[in-house]
C-alpha cells in the first residue's frame, strides 16, 4: 500500500466533564490509502462522527483528544488554530449530513465557493467565479453558469449537497470526509450522490472517508469498512469479506438487523437468505409473501369497544375470516381525494394530494411509501381528521371524515390511534409518560383515577416497558423507549385503525428492528388495521400486506407488498426500488455495472 493519506493511531476522545461515558472514542486506529473509500460504520453513540471531526480538529472545546492523526504527513492533533486552518479544506475537506443547513443562506453559491478558495490563497474575483462554475460542472449541477448566482434556497436538496461537495473539492484535497452525506436525502437522490462520490474517486482519484449508519451505503461505496461500537473498533475488513464473513458478533447483529428489500432484478428471495440469524423478522417477511395475514383470527383486547354502532362492516370483521381486502366494508375508503394547502402571500395554492383513491380493509396493514413531497404524510393527516380534503370522498370507519362535526370527529378519533415520526416531540415534555399514555382514556372519559393508572400499566407492559416508567418524563427515556410509549398511547383505546407516520425513521437500525418486531406482535394481538407511512421501502416490506406508492400527490401503484416491491409495474416504483442500495456489496457492484 502506498503512503496512506490518513492514518489514525490510538485516537481517544474524552469529555472529562461528562458524567456518563466520558470516553467517546477509545483507541481507534485505521488508515485510508490514496484513492481508497473507507467507511466508518456504527450506530448513534459509536463515536464515528467525533472521529471524523477530530481529523480536521473540529472537536468541541470540552473534548480532549490523544493519540495520533497523520494527514498526508502532517500531524493534526495538537496543532494550533492557524496551522489547523491551513490543513482544513486543503489536505482534507468535509461534507456534512444536512445540505439544507450546511450552506450559508444569505450568500450565493458562487460566493461560498470563492470563500473556500480565498481561505487558502489570494484569488481574483473573475478567477474565483470561473473556478466555481468549473466545480459546479464537476459535481453535476445543470447550467452552472446560471446556478453560480443562486442562493441555497433556490436549489433542491440534492443540488445543495452537490454544492457542499463542490466546496469540499475547491482546494483539491486528497481526502474527502463525508459525514452521513445522504442520510437527509430521498433514496433516488441518495443514489445520485453516491454515484457522484464514486466518480470523485474514479475520475479524480480522491480518497473518501464516509461515515454512515446505512449498510446499503457501505455496500455500495466502500472498499474497506471500519465498524465502530461505543467508541471502539469492533472490526476492520474488506467490504466483500465483511458482508460475506463478518467476524465480530456485533457486525453480524448489525447486518442482521438491517431490513432488506429484494432487488427487482432477482425476484426470488435470495437476499433474505443472507440473514438467517434473525429468524423472527425474516420468517414474517418471508411468510408474508406467501399469503396475506389471516384477518379473522385476531383477538380484540379490552372491553373498550366504541359505543357508536355506525360501522356496519365492523361486525363482519370480528366475525369470520375474509379472504381479500375489499370484501368487507373498508376501514379507510378514499375516492379521488384532493388536499390543498392555501398559498401564502398571494401564491397559488399547493396541491399536496391530487386525486387519491385508496382503501384499507379491517386488520390490514397498508404501507404508504413515497419520497418527500409525495403527499404521504398529508394523507395520514386527512385520515385522522387533522386536514380536510378539498374534494373527493374520504371515508374513515364508515363516516365521511371531511364533513364531520366536532363531536362526530371526536367519536371517530376514539377509534383511531396515531404514532408519529419523532418520539421526542410527540410526547408533551412537561407531562409524565403515564399522563401521555392515559390521555386518550381520559379524553374520552373511559375511566378515571386508579383505573386509568392500571390501564396505563397494562399498556406499558404490552409494549415491553416497565410500569414504573409511567412516572418518568419523556426526556428521561431513550428514543426507542419513547416510540414504545407512543405505541402504547396509540393503543390505549384499542383502536380499529392505527396511523403510523414514519414510526421508526428516527431510530437506530437495531432499535428499529426491535420496534418493528413489537409492532408486528401488537398488530397480530390487537388486529387493528394500519396505515403505515414510510419513506423506507425495506421497513414497509417487513410490516405491510399491501403497498401504495405515492408520487407528487398521486398514487403510482397499489398492490400486494410482495408484488409491488419485487415486480413493480410502474416505472417510478422500479426506479425507487433500484435506488435503494442493497446491503450486499457483490450485488451492488453487479447492479452498478448494469446501471
Amino acid at each position: 500500500m502506498a503512503t496512506p493519506v490518513l492514518s489514525v493511531r490510538d485516537l481517544t476522545v474524552e469529555f472529562p466533564a461528562a458524567a456518563v461515558h466520558p470516553r467517546a472514542v477509545d483507541n481507534v486506529s485505521f488508515e485510508v490509502a490514496p484513492g481508497e473509500i473507507v467507511a466508518l460504520v456504527g450506530e448513534s453513540g459509536s463515536g464515528k462522527t467525533l472521529t471524523a471531526k477530530a481529523v480536521l480538529g473540529l472537536l468541541p472545546d470540552t473534548a480532549r483528544a490523544t493519540g495520533s492523526i497523520d494527514l498526508a504527513g502532517q500531524q493534526v492533533l495538537g496543532l494550533d488554530e492557524k496551522a489547523l486552518r491551513s490543513v482544513r479544506g486543503s489536505r482534507a475537506a468535509m461534507v456534512f449530513q444536512e445540505p439544507s443547513t450546511a450552506l450559508n443562506p444569505v450568500e450565493t453559491v458562487g460566493w461560498q465557493i470563492g470563500e473556500a478558495l480565498r481561505a487558502h490563497r489570494k484569488v481574483k474575483r473573475a478567477d474565483a467565479r470561473r473556478r466555481a462554475v468549473e466545480l459546479l460542472e464537476v459535481v453535476g449541477i445543470p447550467e452552472p453558469e446560471k446556478r453560480v448566482g443562486y442562493y441555497p434556497h433556490q436549489l433542491s436538496g440534492g443540488q445543495k449537497q452537490r454544492v457542499v461537495i463542490a466546496l469540499a473539492l475547491a482546494n483539491e484535497p486528497d481526502l474527502i470526509i463525508a459525514d452521513e452525506p445522504t442520510t437527509a436525502l430521498d433514496v433516488t437522490v441518495q443514489a445520485e450522490i453516491l454515484r457522484l462520490l464514486h466518480d470523485l474517486r474514479d475520475r479524480l482519484g480522491r480518497a473518501v472517508l464516509i461515515i454512515t449508519h446505512n449498510m446499503g451505503v457501505v455496500a455500495d461505496l466502500a472498499d474497506r469498512v471500519v465498524v465502530l461500537r461505543s467508541g471502539r473498533v469492533v472490526e476492520t475488513s474488506d467490504v466483500l469479506e465483511l458482508f460475506a464473513r463478518p467476524q465480530a458478533d456485533y457486525t453480524r447483529e448489525l447486518l442482521a438487523a438491517v431490513p432488506r428489500v429484494p432487488t427487482t432484478s432477482d425476484s426470488t428471495d435470495s437476499t433474505d437468505s443472507t440473514s438467517d440469524s434473525t429468524s423472527d423478522s425474516d420468517s414474517t417477511a418471508g411468510g408474508k409473501t406467501a399469503a396475506v395475514r389471516p384477518l379473522g383470527a385476531v383477538k380484540r383486547l379490552g372491553s373498550a369497544e366504541p359505543p357508536e354502532a355506525a360501522v356496519t362492516g365492523d361486525a363482519a370483521v370480528t366475525g369470520e375470516a375474509t379472504e381479500a381486502p375489499g370484501a368487507v366494508r373498508p376501514v379507510v375508503d378514499f375516492r379521488d381525494v384532493v388536499v390543498e394547502y392555501p398559498g401564502r402571500l398571494g401564491r397559488p395554492a399547493f396541491t399536496a394530494v391530487d386525486g387519491v383513491t385508496l382503501s384499507l380493509a379491517p386488520g390490514e396493514v397498508l404501507g404508504l411509501v413515497g419520497e418527500s413531497g409525495s403527499g404521504k404524510t398529508t394523507l395520514g393527516r386527512v385520515v385522522v381528521g387533522l386536514l380536510r380534503p378539498k374534494a373527493g370522498q374520504a371515508e374513515v370507519l364508515g363516516t365521511d371524515i371531511g364533513g364531520l362535526s366536532a363531536g362526530g370527529l371526536r367519536a371517530v378519533r376514539s377509534r383511531i390511534g396515531l404514532v408519529f415520526q419523532d418520539p421526542a416531540t410527540t410526547l408533551d415534555p412537561r407531562r409524565s409518560v403515564g399522563d401521555a399514555v392515559g390521555e386518550p382514556i381520559e379524553v374520552h372519559g373511559r375511566a378515571q383515577g386508579r383505573a386509568v393508572r392500571q390501564r396505563v400499566a397494562v399498556l406499558l407492559e404490552s409494549v415491553q416497558l416497565p410500569a414504573s416508567y409511567a412516572d418518568r418524563r419523556p426526556a428521561e427515556l431513550s428514543g426507542g423507549q419513547r416510540q414504545r410509549a407512543g405505541l402504547a398511547r396509540a393503543l390505549a383505546l384499542d383502536p380499529e385503525l392505527l396511523v403510523a407516520d414514519e414510526p421508526t425513521s428516527a431510530l437506530d437500525v437495531s432499535v428499529q428492528a426491535a420496534v418493528l418486531d413489537l409492532f408486528r406482535d401488537l398488530q397480530e394481538q390487537y388486529g387493528f388495521a394500519c396505515l403505515f407511512i414510510s419513506h423506507d421501502l425495506a421497513v414497509v416490506d417487513e410490516v405491510a400486506d399491501r403497498v401504495a406508492v405515492l408520487r407528487h400527490g398521486r398514487v403510482v401503484e397499489v398492490g400486494r407488498a410482495a408484488d409491488v416491491l419485487r415486480r413493480p409495474s410502474a416505472d417510478y416504483t422500479r426506479r425507487l426500488v433500484d435506488a435503494i442500495p442493497v446491503p450486499d456489496p457483490a450485488v451492488q457492484r453487479a447492479r452498478r455495472l448494469v446501471g
Binding site: 448513534s44 415491553q464 437506530d508
Partner: protein, 322 residues
C-alpha cells in the same frame, strides 16, 4: 419583543422524510454511547438521554434570580411598612426643615416645602406596588384572553391583531401623553396606560405561543386522539406557555415601574402633593447641585425596582433557553 416581519413559510408541509435524524455527536451529552446491540433487545435498548426537567422555582433561589427577588421584595417591604419606618407623614410639613441636606435625621434631606424626602419616597413606592400588582396583572389577563381568542377564532384574529397593531403604533410614553390629554393627570391614566401597553405584549405572546405549540406533534397528537380545544388549551398549551408568560410578566412589571415614574416625572402622572418617586425626582432636578440625595435616593429605589424585575425575567428566561 415580537417581531413584525413574517417570513413566508414553505407551502407544503409534507413530513421531512429525513431518516435517522442523528443527534449532533459534538455535544457531550449526545456523545454518550448507546451501548446495547441488537442481540440484547430489551426495553432499555438504548441509553436514555436523561435531561432534568426544568425547575422554575429553583432559578429564583440563587444567582441573579435571587438578587432580583431580594431587590423587589426589599423595596416592596419598604413601601408596605412605610408608616413604621418613618416618623413623618408623606405630606407633613416639618417646621424649620426647609431644603435640609441629607443627614442622619433626614436621610434624603427635605424639600422646599419642608417635607421629608425619604418619607415621601417610601410612600411613593406604594403607587408602584399598586400599578405593578394590579394594573400589570389586569393587562396581562386581558392580553392573554385577547391572544387566546385571536389564536383560536379565525374571524376574531384579524380584528384583535389590528387592535394590537394600533396600540403598538404608539410608543408607550406617547400613548401616555395621549391618554393624559383625555383623562387629565392622575393615577387613573397611569393605570389605563399600563393596562393598554401590556395588552398587545401578552396578546401577541400568547397568540404566537399557541400557534407555535399547535404545530408541535404532541399537540397535534392530542387533537388526533379527539381531545377538545379546551382540553388541549388547559392540558398542553397553557402549561407550556407558562414560562414565557412569567418572563413577560416580570418584564412588564419593570416597564410599569418605569412608566409610572416617567409619567409622574413629566407631570402627567401622580399629582402632587401625593408622593411618587417620579414627582420627587422631577422636583429634585432643579436643586441637583445643592441637594443631590433628594434625587439620588428615589433614583436608586426606582432603579432597584426595575432592575429587580429585569433580573427575575432574565433568570427565568435563561433557564428556558437551555
Amino acid at each position: 419583543m415580537t417581531d413584525t416581519v413574517q417570513t413566508p413559510t414553505r407551502p407544503a408541509a409534507d413530513a421531512p422524510t429525513a431518516p435517522e435524524q442523528q443527534l449532533p455527536t459534538a455535544t457531550p451529552a449526545a456523545a454518550t454511547p448507546a451501548a446495547a446491540g441488537p442481540a440484547s433487545v430489551t426495553p432499555a435498548e438504548d441509553v436514555a438521554a436523561v435531561a432534568t426537567a426544568p425547575r422554575r422555582r429553583r432559578v429564583l433561589l440563587h444567582g441573579r434570580g435571587l438578587f432580583g427577588l431580594l431587590l423587589v421584595g426589599g423595596i416592596l417591604l419598604l413601601g408596605l411598612f412605610a408608616p413604621l419606618l418613618t416618623p413623618y407623614g408623606p405630606t407633613e410639613q416639618i417646621p424649620g426643615a426647609n431644603l435640609l441636606p441629607a443627614s442622619g435625621r433626614h436621610l434624603f434631606g427635605t424639600d422646599e416645602v419642608n417635607r421629608d424626602v425619604l418619607t415621601r419616597a417610601l410612600y411613593g413606592i406604594r403607587v408602584d406596588v399598586l400599578v405593578v400588582f394590579v394594573a400589570v396583572p389586569l393587562g396581562a389577563l386581558l392580553g392573554t384572553a385577547a391572544g387566546t381568542l385571536a389564536a383560536l377564532i379565525r374571524p376574531a384574529d384579524v380584528a384583535v391583531q389590528r387592535i394590537f397593531d394600533v396600540i403598538l403604533a404608539f410608543p408607550p410614553i406617547i400613548l401616555a401623553i395621549g391618554v393624559t390629554a383625555i383623562l387629565g393627570a392622575g393615577i387613573t391614566p397611569i393605570f389605563v396606560v399600563v393596562v393598554a401597553v401590556e395588552i398587545p405584549y401578552f396578546g401577541r405572546l400568547l397568540r404566537s405561543s399557541i400557534l407555535t405549540l399547535r404545530e408541535l406533534p404532541f399537540v397535534e397528537a392530542a387533537e388526533a386522539i379527539g381531545a377538545s380545544r379546551w382540553w388541549i388549551l388547559r392540558r398542553h398549551i397553557l402549561p407550556n406557555s407558562a414560562e414565557p408568560l412569567f418572563v413577560q410578566l416580570a418584564l412588564s412589571m419593570s416597564i410599569a415601574v418605569f412608566l409610572e415614574s416617567a409619567m409622574s416625572f413629566l407631570g402627567i402622572g401622580v399629582r402632587p402633593p401625593e408622593p411618587s418617586l417620579g414627582t420627587i425626582i422631577a422636583d429634585a432636578v432643579s436643586d441637583l447641585d445643592t441637594a443631590p440625595m433628594q434625587a439620588v435616593g428615589p433614583l436608586l429605589l426606582v432603579t432597584g425596582f426595575v432592575l429587580g424585575f429585569q433580573l427575575i425575567a432574565q433568570a427565568v428566561g435563561a433557564r428556558r433557553r437551555i
